[in-house]
Symmetry: C2
Subunit: 294 residues, 2 copies
């Protein structure tokens, strides 16, 4: 529930100068402005599920993009039902957008790849909530290997071969000798990944999907003493979030989506309960910017 | 379009300890909290038209009222179409509210009385916009006349007669003589009225409805030099707003709904252009509280 101090869910993933919006609670467009993120730079929006705290801001964002003169297509990945919700409101206003929305209505119960462009894949993470819900896994594709610069001159490697070698090819020099790739290159920087998991009950079978994730956002609606309520409402306790991070061998866990019953005064307790299970836990504060690759 | 500095339309009318919400742009529920107005005190919501800047916050408010434990009926007065917009979103969430919404879908093209309770009437003001739009006129009913206290003892007026006399009845004393009401009472305080007119092109035929209104809020989307654009988009210039106030013999005009092209630096010009036509003009600033009866 939005209050003066707490806004509903929305995150932006910035990769390769592209901006991906995940969830869009009421007021998200104003939060984007506060963060100086141009509304028009967002071309892909991912909605986890059709509870209002995760999408009530979408229609306003769609409308503002129109008012700002957008002409570029907008992709919306959301559970089936979102198209009707947007359409009924555009029709009521007798409005025709200046740009096209491409709806990707999600219905799969298994993890599927829903986005695959140069450098980046995005997969759904099937979650367990009161209604159909997906998390989203952002996976950087393997990066290019790095050339050992001195080898280029030494073996007289022509410019047009460089990219193949960075992708792993061996090189045949002027004497017909095969120079193995590992002799010419350093291994690439590790590929990064980020997983967004909200809202969900404890669901251990997502662990293989999250294996070695660099950063995991996992909802932690309740403290441990409300374990029964968490189960009943299909949410997680903070210990359960930490257990998923631990089993996934995540590098870092960010927790949020705390119940309205809690205030910032409870953050220490959330962290304490989490860290008993998974040390690298942090609170996901509003406005935080987290760099996975500094 | 909501920005960090400007929020979309919403006003609260407080009369007799009741709170009436007029329009509900995105973020209104948070603005209500900032103004310390309990969401649960609002039992009647009036939506002028189905453009997003006037209602995108409604579904979130409806949802939060549910989360806050509301059980009391909520009345929504809005153009036909609002029921479907709310329902498609409640259905998508598989949600059932703990309280009942009573929809009053408006379709009349003439002014109609849509609310009539002790002390207060609310009438629609048919406006002229790109889609079906109503303003709302809040009219206090005639107040009771005030007893001249010394007459009660002098004529030995029994207690149970007092209310009739306040309502205008004459009194027959113990000698059978008719004491005229004007001899026993002072005239009542004048009844107050408030009119909300947004969004609309210049529409002179609403003037009789607004006759002698104590406060008029009228949209003033453009300055005079954008008169053609105002006409084309079915909005008003500030001079046109002032002309309506002038012809209506309003006591005060509040202007707002300025186009996104303007900033607070233009307020002086808005006021200047308005005051050339109607002196008692003020800017309707966010968060302003205006007392009609101090």
């Amino acid at each position: 529930m939005p209050t003066v101090k707490k806004r509903p869910s929305a995150q932006v993933i910035n990769y390769g100068n592209k901006y991906y919006l995940v969830d869009c609670g009421e007021g998200t467009q104003v939060q984007l402005r506060k963060q100086k993120i141009s509304l028009l730079k967002i071309n892909h929006i991912f909605i986890s599920h059709l509870h209002g705290d995760h999408y009530f801001g979408l229609i306003g964002l769609v409308n503002s993009m129109h008012l700002l003169g957008r002409t570029k297509e907008l992709n919306i990945y959301a559970p089936k039902g979102m198209t009707a919700i947007i359409d009924v409101q555009l029709n009521a206003a007798n409005a025709r957008l200046n740009y096209k929305i491409i709806y990707h209505e999600l219905t799969e119960k298994q993890s599927v790849c829903i986005y695959d462009e140069k450098g980046l894949e995005i997969h759904t993470i099937p979650l367990k909530h009161r209604i159909y819900t997906n998390g989203f896994l952002f996976k950087e594709k393997p990066l290019l290997r790095k050339m050992k610069q001195e080898k280029i001159a030494y073996y007289e490697i022509p410019h047009y071969k460089i990219n193949d070698i960075k992708e792993g090819a061996d090189f045949i020099d002027k004497n017909g000798e095969v120079i193995p790739n590992t002799h010419l290159t350093f291994p690439p920087a590790p590929s990064l990944s980020y997983a967004y998991c909200s809202d969900t009950a404890y669901k251990e079978d997502i662990v293989p999907l999250l294996s070695n994730v660099d950063a995991l956002y996992h909802e932690a609606t309740f403290l441990e003493n409300e374990k029964d309520l968490a189960k009943k409402t299909f949410h997680s306790t903070v210990r359960q979030a930490a257990a998923i991070a631990n089993k996934s061998k995540a590098s870092a866990l960010y927790i949020g989506h705390f119940s309205a019953r809690y205030t910032t005064e409870h953050y220490a307790q959330f962290l304490q309960e989490a860290k008993e299970v998974f040390e690298q836990t942090k609170i996901a504060n509003e406005g935080d910017i987290i760099a996975l690759r500094p």
